[in-house]
Symmetry: C2
């Protein structure tokens, strides 16, 4: 949790409590706001963000200057930096939300009891959402838009490197909310980016209904270890591609290369390759040459090293590691049983794929592997709200409570039971 | 958390880690066990529990003796003590599960993407469930049965006063599992009832997929404050009955008496009465006389005291308190706005009722009150898995993530995405 290293501020908790109270009031208004009112505000947000992009870019330039002086890494600078194209993408994201169905008010189920009570389970907003994330200003706009569409107030705490950008963005978003007749405090930014404010946010029991951390494994772990408010864990993906003995080798190679290379820095990228012994001697030289040719460092079990001597030996720790980089770990397995056992032991329950033409092997893999998304004959890279057709995504949950896998608008809601009677009392 | 006061045992955590590993293995078997295999084990559990009730009653007698010597309160002794009738009820509970539909395998939704990927969201077990509860041996059997039916392994930690009873029960349940060909370790009991073992259980990240505390507000608070594993909060209910100016007074009285008196010790009992000023002078003397006549202590706001001088004055703390006793707090309100604001401020978001003949008032109450269950013209006492028709209930969630309100079998599952392709890769 590299960004939480500033001097503690003793008033963090009381300031956050105040923010949470204002968020609760705003949530009360949003809860009963109609879809049209929310969509109008989204439209206003998109217009204002585009109209005032100059102010955002100016604020971002200040962040970038501090970042460069501080010697931040290239990937961090890439995530932090904004330009007109990136702002246009944020604006597009807001506009896309307008066209999506509003999950609030959906009657999930309903029935009549023998005593005449009519029970309906109805989708309602969560209330106050907290987001803790790193130096990515686009998350500020994404999260604000998704929370507004789903009737939730949101308290945002971005990385300190993006503070000026976030202040500029939230000012615009709040102005748009007010102009559209909704409470500006529906979107609030935590200005204090010190460690203490993050911890206080994690422990704001009663103030925040759900906290969603988005970022690296360190941030997620810190939140899970310290939070007393309900948390949705997102993201860590130690994903496997398993090439079964009956795989179409060309398809297996295509899927492997896509899963590893199309974006190695994201959570749904493949980190490990498992290959059945029966086909290893044929498949590995061909596939590892292709990976190595694309700049991937290959690490392997002893059998892999025997077949492909350029591979470095794997350590036990390697099997658990999400590289997020041009590195792959390779293991030769006896067959399906060993592959499933290995995945269930070392995987992070994110996305797991088998490549096979064998019907029974496919069925067993789908059934026995414990993960948010299990694939037959497709790349793990499809685990994504957009690719699933959700239209918007707030993150990918790797926990089992509430939401698992890509979280769209529906996952940002809860339900309540509405019970209508004619004077019924319980015996 | 009165029961967590024994001497710390330093090996608690490593012992719990071992239990969790065995539970994880058992969960792997249960995850793919068919409904018939699980139902057979439930049937065997019911048979064995009845056949061996003598051993359970003997163990319970030892617990009762210790309890009596220790001078435990009457309600605690009532919950702890077993007899043939109570065991018959446990057996009935197990048998009832056999007849219920198995939620595992349900296809919640499914669609095809433009690229031909077939996506299905399928219901699967949670994995390893932890239960922390007080001295109620029936929870041991209920929880074991519900977890088995839903394919979950369970780690049970009951109150220390019930330890002998729980050991006897779990021995029988494990024997039945083994006899039915399922892993005995699917149901395990934490023998160490010290505080340290409870804390270790709350922090068993990766070992327990969800922890469900069942008990008083102190236990729930301790779990929420200390847990790093995902928790489902259950139970606290500061429930209101709001008598609107257009209520049928007879219906309002019937609902109020039922909500307060039919079982004052449970979470869905009414703790507060709100009455519109316009009808207070007529409704209060009649209803408060009825409540007082049934032994209820009446506390009230100044207006209530003016109308019913026998009422004690309410304190600010009273408005937040779940009495679980023959006590009621009464407030005269101006109308719907004040009633809703009061409930949203002081309620615990459990069960809230309005009594009215006014269509608009009913709709606004249902929409604006933020609670797991909102009622029009019915008693709050219906918030219950049995009364909702779920057939089984593991608790009543008062949080917003994952489950809200009575939790039946479906709430003891998660989902996974199953994606079948023909070699698709991401652009």
């Amino acid at each position: 949790m590299a960004e939480l290293t500033e001097v503690p501020v003793s008033t963090s908790e009381s300031r956050l409590r105040d923010m949470a109270l204002r968020a609760r009031e705003a949530a009360g208004v949003l809860r009963v706001a109609g879809t049209a009112a929310k969509d109008l505000a989204l439209s206003r947000m998109a217009d204002d963000l585009w109209a005032q992009r100059g102010a955002v870019l100016k604020a971002n330039a200040r962040d970038m200057e501090v970042a460069r002086r501080g010697g931040l890494s290239v990937p961090l600078v890439n995530r932090l930096s904004l330009d007109e194209k990136k702002i246009a993408a944020m604006v597009e994201g807001l506009r896309a939300l307008i066209g999506l169905p509003d999950p609030v008010g959906e009657v999930v189920s309903g029935w009549r009891r023998p005593n005449g009570l009519e029970i309906r389970r109805v989708r309602v907003p969560l209330g106050v959402v907290g987001m803790i994330y790193e130096a990515r200003p686009n998350v500020t706009v994404d999260a604000a838009g998704i929370c507004l569409k789903t009737g939730n107030a949101v308290i945002l705490r971005g990385g300190k490197e993006a503070l000026n950008s976030n202040i500029a963005l939230v000012e615009i978003l709040q102005g748009a909310l007010a102009a559209a007749g909704l409470p500006a405090k529906a979107v609030q930014l935590v200005m204090d980016t010190g460690r203490e404010s993050a911890l206080a946010m994690m422990r704001l029991t009663g103030g925040i209904d759900v906290l969603i951390p988005r970022g690296g494994a360190g941030l997620i772990r810190t939140v899970v270890e310290n939070a007393t408010v309900p948390v949705i864990e997102t993201g860590t993906g130690n994903c496997h591609v398993y090439v079964h003995r009956d795989a179409d080798p060309d398809m297996a190679l295509r899927i492997l290369l896509n899963a590893k290379l199309s974006n190695p820095a994201v959570c749904n990228a493949a980190e490990k390759l498992l290959v059945d012994r029966e086909v290893a001697a044929e498949f590995l030289p061909r596939s590892l040459a292709a990976l190595a040719g694309a700049g991937v460092e290959v690490r392997g079990c002893p059998e892999t090293v025997a077949i492909w001597p350029a591979a470095k030996p794997m350590t036990e720790e390697d099997w658990e590691t999400e590289y997020l980089d041009l590195v792959i770990g390779v293991k030769v397995v006896e067959g399906l049983d060993e592959a499933v056992a290995h995945i269930n032991r070392y995987g992070t329950r994110h996305s797991e794929a088998i490549v096979t033409r064998d019907y029974g092997a496919a069925r067993r893999f789908l059934e026995e592997v414990d993960a948010a998304a299990v694939y037959v004959n497709a790349s793990t890279r499809f685990t994504d709200g957009g690719e699933f057709g959700f239209g918007a995504e707030i993150g990918i949950s790797t926990q089992k409570l509430h939401a698992r896998g890509p979280m769209g608008l529906r996952e940002m809601t809860t339900t309540k039971y509405v019970i209508e009677g004619t004077g019924q009392v319980r015996e």
